[in-house]
Amino acid sequence: MGAEQAWLLAAIPAAMFFVIALFGRYLPRQGDYLGVLAIGTSFVLSFFVLADYLSFYDFEAGKTAVAESIKWSTVGVGETAFKLRMGIYIDQITIVMFGVVTTVALMVNVFSIGYMKGEPRYYWFFAVLQLFVASMLMLVMADNLLLVYISWELVGVCSFLLIGFYWEKRSATEAAKKAFITTRIGDVGLLIGIILLWRATGTFNIREIIDIAEHGGIGSTYLFVSVLFVFLGCMGKSAQVPFHVWLPDAMEGPTPVSALIHAATMVVAGVYLTARLLPLFEVADGTLLIVTIVGLVTALSTGFMALAQTDIKKVLAYSTVGQLGFMFVALGSGHPDAAIFHLMTHAFFKALLFLGSGSVIHGTHHNQEMDKLGGLWKKMPITGTTFFVGSLALAGVAPLAGFWSKDEILHASQTWSGGWVLILLGFAAVMTAFYTTRLFIRTFMGKPMDQHVYESAQESGFLMTAPLVVLGILAAVSGFVIWHGVGTAIGFPGGFTEFVFLEEPERYHIDWALAGGSIGIAVVGIFLAAFVYWNGSLERSTRLARFQPGIYELLVHKFYFDEMYQYAIDKVLLGFSFIVSWFDRYVVNDTGIDGSAQVTGYSGYVLKFLQSGRVPNYAMAITLGVVGLAIVGLMVRA
């Protein structure tokens, strides 16, 4: 099993999707073990791929990527014929994504067995989960943009199905619709971008496109436009402002789904694609700046929004969006290594946090409002502990994973002269630490808000805590791979940045000033939050809210984004649709089509009265006919 067969990783779960979807409901336990089995296999296989890839990898020799493709279809003949090839392209980024996706997916699967027990349509959940993993894996190993787009859309529809899993709830349905359509709007841009790139280069293959672009094969303006369109798609998937609205609502889905899709994998697809196409961004002047700005805006604004949320999962959702913003900043700074690194660590600790919140929700019989929780640490020690680790990691406290990656990003952001990016990022980091702490304190510490909930709460079962532990460990240690020593120790050519890079591998050297700064940031945020929310009393925070009610309202309503969009859709789009339908009915149809018919009929009605039934009139008609024709004839003569 070599890297060339990596497509199996996607094929196995895909096949399992059909098996479970068609027969799951007849199988014992509705076939959940099949799901675990399939993803487990992919998980194991990913290591074979990794091993094979590492044995193949040789940077000096330029052997950094395994590519394999087959002829797919041809349209027409001649040099203008439209030839499509499908294939896989495996390089460092792909390898990392394999690791992340399979690991998190496996954990989530195991967790779900416990969490989803007794839910209706149990088998359906697992089936779609398989399809989702399959398409995600296909997405990261695709060697051409068409295949990327295909799996991109499949990922989207899977998330649609999973968010809408509790379709009896109107809110869930709406959320699913919102997610699909919002991302779809981005996808329009993506497709346009892809086809524009094809139009210029005549190929969909990412490598070839990049080569042509780097050798100036594409006009700068043209390239700029098409890259922006592609980035539009990335923004949609990764829920960057202004497309971020769907992600919090997507929390309507089952919590494991939130963990898998909205933390670890799907939403990072945008980051992945941007990293994959970063060379294009670098060629197209100005796009990087745009990427950075989008990332910054997202990181800051969502930081604010997270402050005022009381729903655990919503808080986590906004923090996810914010962290994605961090990654985009790193990409904008031309550092895919930092972005991917943060992507990995974030995947681990954010999955941890989500699953943890899932465990809480499960343990408290579907309570996810902070106002009802509190002091749960004693009740559910494992969840609490792991959640604690995750929070610290998210807050970026050394030496947990989050610290290293965030540090990398801050470091990367220095490339922007003037340091304004650095400062703003730092501020965003403070808020991250703040709301994370707030979340943890209000959930696990202090005195319980709702005694009844508190009484009924208990620790979740082994199937759910085990993944928490595993992810906790990962969240704690996965950051160290940045070190050369660690990297070589586990068989990589070196530290993370020596493995994932754009032009040149560079060995990691810790920058004490920056590291200290970032630790400081984390500590500040944590202590602020601790001061405001200590032992769960809210009077300080309420005072804070009263101090500037306007701002508070603004935050509670998430800067009124949803309201704006709702207005745009209801009033503008649907209004226009009403106009069109009216036009179609009354102008095109009744006037244009039926109208002409009625005119014909009416002319017949008028004409028939010439037929008076009287002989003299008829004779007159004959005479006039003769006279008229004769006159015409004689005129023609004359």
Partner: protein, 501 residues
């Protein structure tokens, strides 16, 4: 009667099967409903088999026109030469997938109409006559018979809709028939003009195609008559603004007829534009295609927008058909091989998925007797299979990769981008709107709180499931592995003179 390469009889058999069916049913006493149904199902199966055979047996990289059959009909008269009017049947890379489509949809429609109980005899006679017309149009390489079968396909619609239809059936039927025949009138005038201008004493298309290219049909002539023929065919292809029969007609039509009509018949229009427009009058086509492109884009956006706020299932499908046929016209208007291939792909894809949609709507309407979306909710509880099928159809409609819709639309987009990037972008926007109205319908009808009023709704019957399964299978096949289609179509399209790369 002469056969080429010994395959012509297959085509003849495919064309004869429905006629034979109609004839046999004509002689079954109308009381014997079961017998009628079995005969119909049998012949539909035969047609399906033959169609599949034709599609498979067509050699993508062989001669462009295969399985030829020639039967001289009228010759050596005052104005007709040696092969004056010839029953010239054949298959090329464009008609092969169309034949397959016809076979699939016809079969599905037939077994869907199994439970049709009101005068099934008359119904099936007309139904098979219509199908004969469809097959004939796809196979004819003689203008006379092309038009003959074209009209034959349109003719039975009035009774089929008027007698077995539902909502405002008289109005819908009359309007549909009149508009379609009105379109064919333009075609007819065009055919007269072409015959007169070419002055070859034959209706044989291949020779007239040649005449169209070697300048026997003068450029001026082509420029004058292309719009006439294009609009004539366009009416049947729901070309904006001649589309208004589509919502009303589909709303009125009975299930099987909607399936065949939206599934196959509308394709005759686009097919006619290829045959009589692009192949017969290349210069005129070259000259007018930008206009057609504009109309196609308008249709695509207009249909999608209008569908956003509809409440009747069939109105949604009617308008989305307008939108999707708009794509087809855009693909044709690109005049490059990718776009036209995409258009043919879209003809197939839209055919199967619309047929599926109408099948499902019919299955629901037969029980619920309402088609107002607002009446429904949470149907997933009672009709899971129905919902799954509808979801697949809807997602294909939206252009989800892995389903036929994407394959077709993707090729059309690529082709359009090669010719007119801006219009291509607009088309993709229209695709996003499709997501809008489809998901809106999903959200309202399938999901949300269950309306107890519908607790007695039955899920699809085995027969309907079978028909739907067939359609879904073809949707997925084309969505995943489209090479068999693109090979056949692309080769032929590339061989059309006047089509640029």
């Amino acid at each position: 009667m002469t056969f080429d390469e010994g395959q012509g009889y297959i085509v003849l058999a495919t064309l004869a099967a429905p006629l034979l069916a109609a004839l046999i049913i004509l002689f079954i006493p109308s009381g014997q409903k079961m017998a009628i149904r079995f005969v119909s199902a049998f012949f539909a199966a035969v047609m399906l088999g033959l169609s599949i055979y034709i599609f498979v047996a067509y050699q993508a990289d062989g001669e462009k026109i295969q399985m030829t059959l020639k039967w001289v009909w009228v010759e050596n008269t005052a104005f007709l030469g040696k092969d004056g009017i010839t029953l010239h049947l054949a298959v090329d890379g464009i008609s092969a997938p169309m034949a397959l489509l016809t076979g699939i949809v016809a079969f599905a429609g037939t077994i869907t109409s199994w439970k049709l109980n009101y005068r099934p005899k008359d119904f099936f006679i007309l139904y098979f006559t219509l199908l004969a017309g469809v097959y004939g149009t796809f196979f004819s390489f003689d203008l006379f018979f092309f038009f003959f079968f074209y009209e034959l396909a349109v003719m039975p619609l009035y009774l089929l809709i008027g007698v077995w239809g539902s909502t405002r059936k008289e109005y819908g039927a009359l309007k549909l028939t009149m508009m379609l025949v009105g379109g064919s009138v333009l075609i007819w005038i065009g055919i007269f003009a072409v015959f007169h201008e070419a002055n070859l004493g034959t209706f044989d298309m291949q020779r007239l195609f040649a005449a169209g290219n070697d300048g026997t049909l003068s450029p001026t002539f082509q420029k004058v008559f292309f719009p006439m023929i294009c609009i004539g065919c366009g009416v049947l292809a729901a070309l904006w603004p001649f589309h208004t029969w589509s919502p009303d007609g589909h709303m009125a039509a009975p299930t099987a007829v909607s399936m065949v009509h939206a599934g196959v018949l509308m394709k005759l229009g686009a097919f006619g534009i290829i045959r009589l427009g692009i192949q017969l009058l290349p210069v005129g086509a070259e000259f007018w295609m930008p206009g057609l492109m504009v109309l196609g884009v308008i249709g695509a956006l207009y249909g999608a927008t209008a569908a956003l706020t509809q409440r009747d299932f069939k109105l949604i499908s009617g308008y989305s058909s307008v939108s999707h046929m708009g794509y087809v016209l855009m693909g044709l208007a690109t005049m490059n091989q990718i776009g036209i291939t995409g258009a043919v792909l879209q003809m197939f894809s839209h055919g199967v998925m619309t047929a599926l949609v109408f099948l499902l709507i019919g299955a629901l309407y037969d029980q619920a007797h309402t088609r107002d979306m607002k009446d429904f909710g949470g149907l997933t509880k009672v009709m899971p299979v129905w919902v799954v099928f509808y979801t697949v159809a809807g997602l294909a409609n939206v252009g989800l990769p892995g389903l036929s819709g994407f394959t077709a639309e993707f090729h059309i987009f690529v082709g359009t981008f090669r010719a007119y990037p801006v219009f291509g972008a607009l088309a993709i926007v229209a695709a996003a709107l499709a997501a809008g109205y489809m998901l809106r319908m999903f959200a309202i009808v399938f999901f949300g709180p269950f309306n107890i009023r519908w607790k007695d709704l039955k899920d699809l019957t085995p027969l309907e499931t079978m028909a739907g399964g067939l359609l879904i299978a073809s949707i997925v096949l084309m969505g995943v592995w489209w090479a068999p289609f693109t090979d056949r179509i692309g080769q032929t399209v590339a061989a059309i003179p006047g089509v640029i790369g």
